[in-house]
């Protein structure tokens, strides 16, 4: 067990810190510190391309596909320096962290050649089409249909809560390809071009006043026959494999955003005098501990190369961070007081902490709700009986 970084790692830190600083002070100063995923999209596309041009867009990927084969330590360092420099949240997170690794793990060489360069270059933004009106927690209940028509798949149905679909270039969907099949059987994982006539995107307003997610309608939407990852009817396995990547290194970048949020709370407490309140101090301490344990939990999870073993750190990670951040939202508002409940101007658009307070209420829902996480932990981690299935 060793936590310290080597001298070579520290040299790497200097290198990426210097580059990021230069970018955020200079050409990309206008998008510094943006944490949402929807403002200044055009500038942020350029930022993705700038990262790519300098080899920083997907450092954990193999060199052959535009990455750097970065070690775990290097990925940790890059995530830390990225946030320290105030670089904006990555709008192509889904491409780099989910679509890319899935294609690397399950795709053919032709598919890698077709899809990876666009992601690595920062030109293709991706979104994830899993959830449907009747397939939320019960994701296997997907009803969107895919049918092979000559050398093309034809897709009909509806996805919902599709984050970033309104400006994405590609979407991966799971669709039912076997007529009459039920549950996880008979699903196929397809990669489809957005912006085609058969795909309509309708934004959905969120409680924080923004609209990051959408309804996505498929009406005879098409993609070439070789757009499927894995084999026909094998989509569930691919979809679940992809979810494992959600617990990858990107979690470290997310943690750095949490760091910035906690620091902002501490600064606010110092500014308004709450910092001398013993109860507030205790809650801040608790938040600090939780954030550190998140970091070390992630490092345990990422250091675990034995993927066959049940990995407690990985299994518990989602509910841990989601719950932590929900509590952080409460702490933020308690520290800000009523000043946190008003904003200048007539736009219903919130500064970082009040927005985090509102947004954190979705953290415990997307990517598997807290209740579903507990079911998974109990069933997979502790071997408890599975939830009975109803027949409505």
């Amino acid at each position: 067990m060793k936590l310290g970084f080597s001298a070579a790692d520290e040299a790497f830190r200097q290198e990426c810190a210097a580059w990021l600083q230069e970018q955020m002070d200079g050409p990309f100063a206008d998008i510094r510190g943006i944490t949402n995923l929807v403002s200044k999209v055009d500038r942020r596309r350029l930022w993705e391309q700038q990262l790519a041009a300098h080899g920083w867009s997907c450092i954990g990927w193999p060199k052959a596909w535009g990455g750097r084969d970065a070690t775990l330590a290097q990925q940790v360092i890059f995530a830390e320096e990225y946030a320290r420099a105030g670089a904006p949240n990555r709008i192509n997170h889904i491409g780099v962290e989910l679509a890319g690794p899935t294609i690397l793990a399950f795709g053919t060489e032709e598919q890698k050649a077709k899809f990876l360069p666009g992601i690595a270059a920062g030109t293709d933004i991706w979104c994830q089409g899993y959830s449907e009106p009747n397939a939320g927690s019960d994701l296997a209940n997907v009803r969107t249909k895919a049918r092979l028509d000559g050398d093309e798949w034809v897709v009909n149905g509806q996805k919902v809560w599709t984050s970033l679909a309104h400006f994405s270039d590609w979407i991966f969907v799971i669709a039912r390809s076997e007529e009459g099949s039920q549950g996880p059987k008979g699903l196929t994982f397809l990669m489809m071009k957005m912006g085609q006539p058969g795909i309509e995107v309708v934004p959905i307003g969120q409680m924080n006043g923004e609209a990051e997610f959408n309804e996505t309608f498929f009406t005879d939407a098409r993609c070439p026959a070789d757009s499927l990852i894995g084999s026909v009817g094998d989509g569930w396995r691919v979809a679940m494999g992809l979810l494992a990547f959600e617990r990858g290194v990107s979690t470290l970048a997310q943690q750095m955003q949490f760091r910035n949020e906690l620091d902002a709370i501490i600064a606010a407490a110092k500014a308004n005098g709450m910092a001398s309140d013993g109860v507030v101090r205790s809650r801040i301490a608790k938040a600090e501990v939780g954030l550190r344990l998140m970091r070390y939990g992630a490092l345990r999870m990422l250091s675990n190369t034995d993927l066959s073993a049940i990995d407690g750190a990985a299994l518990t990670y989602k509910i841990q961070w989601a719950t932590w951040r929900r509590d952080l939202g409460e702490l933020a508002m308690d520290v800000l007081g009523q000043a946190g409940e008003v904003v200048d101007g007539d736009n219903y658009h919130w500064p970082m902490l009040p927005n985090m307070y509102l947004f954190s209420r979705s953290d415990t829902i997307y990517g598997g709700t807290n209740q579903i996480q507990r079911n998974l932990i109990a069933e997979r981690g502790l071997g408890l009986p599975r939830e009975p299935r109803g027949n409505l």
């Binding site: 067990m1 407690g312 502790l382």
Partner: protein, 353 residues
Amino acid sequence: MEFAFTDEQAMIAETVKAFFAENASSERTRAAMAADGVDRALWSSFCKELGLAGIGIAEELGGAGLGMVELSIVAEAAGTHVAALPLLGLAAGARAIALGGNTDQHQAYLGGILSGDILVAAVEADAEALHFADGKLSGTLPFVPHGVAADLYVIASSLGVFVLDRKAAGVSISAQTTMDQTRPLAKLILDQAAVDRLDDADKAHAGFRQGGWLCLAAEALGGSQSALDITVAYSKERVQFGRQIGSYQAYKHRLADMMVDIEQARSAVYWAACAVDEGDEEQALALHSAKSFCADTYRACSGHMIQLHGGIGFTWEHDAHLFFKRARSISSMMGDSEWHRQKIADLVMGAAL
């Protein structure tokens, strides 16, 4: 950077787990509880056969080398069985002597302690309750863990860290009936008792706290994991309303919450252990985090264990109360969780105005 056990650490973990599973049985622990809270035969084989007493103490001082990660592995395994052992005294006391003692002090104490022949108790004392002059210490120490069983005491305070022989003149020891009988507290009254002040008080006190806090945190981790494992096993056996009780969501979700906390407690212990071993500048933050988080986790998990067992969990016969009481005593000892959190707040946001 690699936050996983090395092969050697994994081997130590396996060895100690097997050792405690085989020897630290409930019957033996209960026999010790009825006496002075130390299973002497277990302690002797721990020190002499396994040779584990010297973990975290440098080899030149007669220790086994290795560090706080390995010490935590041992304490976690001992905590798994609420073993009735003077491990805290060893972890805090021997480390204080090793780090803060001079050569004479090393020679005077470490040999006997590490062989298991001399039983050491460690206690942190409020300086205001003590008076030290001319090598003599006076005052009352109301809560000395394993105070009746011990041969030697290491007393840490801001006046210095002192080694006291139980046979010294002016020492009176009285047993106290203690809620956690696996680590009973005694009252020590010192009246001009001769003590040996460790040469480097700061290093001694730092070592005392590193060893003590980590030992308690790791014991709490092991105990919490046991509380979960035992309850999971029970939930699969016990049937009510025609179903295993572990199939009810209210029940299994509570078990899941226990696992979520325990996984964080595991990160906390090994983060703090690595931070000490690597001399990391954040080690104080790590130690305060580990002690507070693990104690809180243990209290919650051992409480859930009772609830999720129903009536049987409230009996003397069932082991649930051993965990519950150990959790309580760990939480109160060497700074309660709130105290540690205020220290953390000082570290991250500066002292309160």
